[in-house]
Symmetry: C3
Subunit: 106 residues, 3 copies
């Protein structure tokens, strides 16, 4: 019997100035923890959906990694951050399936 | 014919002070390399298994990323680090499937 | 109806001095953005394919994370960087499947 259990990882790459606001959403929506690293990012601005001005200049970002046991919480986090911030700020969110050892920690 | 081969990624997020001890396990259990980034983390303390005092304050962490060709080595790394350190220290480990180009490097 | 769409993530871990050259390939091959974090890495040198001198000493690396909507672009990025740099420099590349919210951004 394997000790590993399925869980969902969400990665949020956002401007550094949004870090604390995004982490507040992460916790409100049910995550018990997160990992934050800093870096630089480049990407399209999400302005106005269909408005695609091309590649933005590099900006200082935080990469926030969150694991949740339930897929529903992952989707809430991804959708809430995206709807609240990614029309006016650059940023991306994506999810993937992972395996964890102790699901009650997540 | 694709040049890509399945492999297993292990992510270990641990307190910075444990870095070298955890990397020693990673190498002993058969990994040929790793990538380490620094950041901050927040999560439950793993103290005493069922003792769950809630979210710990942020702490300085290292995020260790390891790719191994064999699933068995990945499980050994995850289980050994977890059993040795995650009852007395905060930290998480999780695994996922990836594809690599040259499996003999891992 | 889910708002999430499949995409491919490529992770490139390369020596810091190669960062801008690798990012140029990433953009040339069709990626619209990337995330870069810094760290340390350890791994085999990729010298001469079958020449395996064991674990190299730690070196300063960048970890480049790229999401593309199409698998073909992911494979081009992985193969081009690998063929151009990983015979003479340490480094790894791997891919995995993720889910994104707005596929037109990638």
């Amino acid at each position: 019997m394997t000790a590993f259990h399925k869980a969902t990882k969400i990665i949020l790459v956002v401007e550094r100035l949004l870090r604390d606001k995004v982490l507040a959403i992460v916790e409100t929506e049910g995550a018990k923890g997160y990992t934050v690293t800093e870096g630089i990012g480049k990407g399209e601005h999400g302005l106005h959906g269909t408005d695609r001005p091309g590649i933005a200049p590099g900006f200082t970002i935080v990469r926030i990694e969150v694991i949740v046991a339930g897929r529903a919480a992952a989707e809430r986090i991804a959708l809430t951050v995206s709807q609240r911030y990614f029309t006016d700020h650059p940023g991306i969110v994506y999810m993937s399936e992972v395996e964890v050892l102790r699901p009650e920690k997540f």
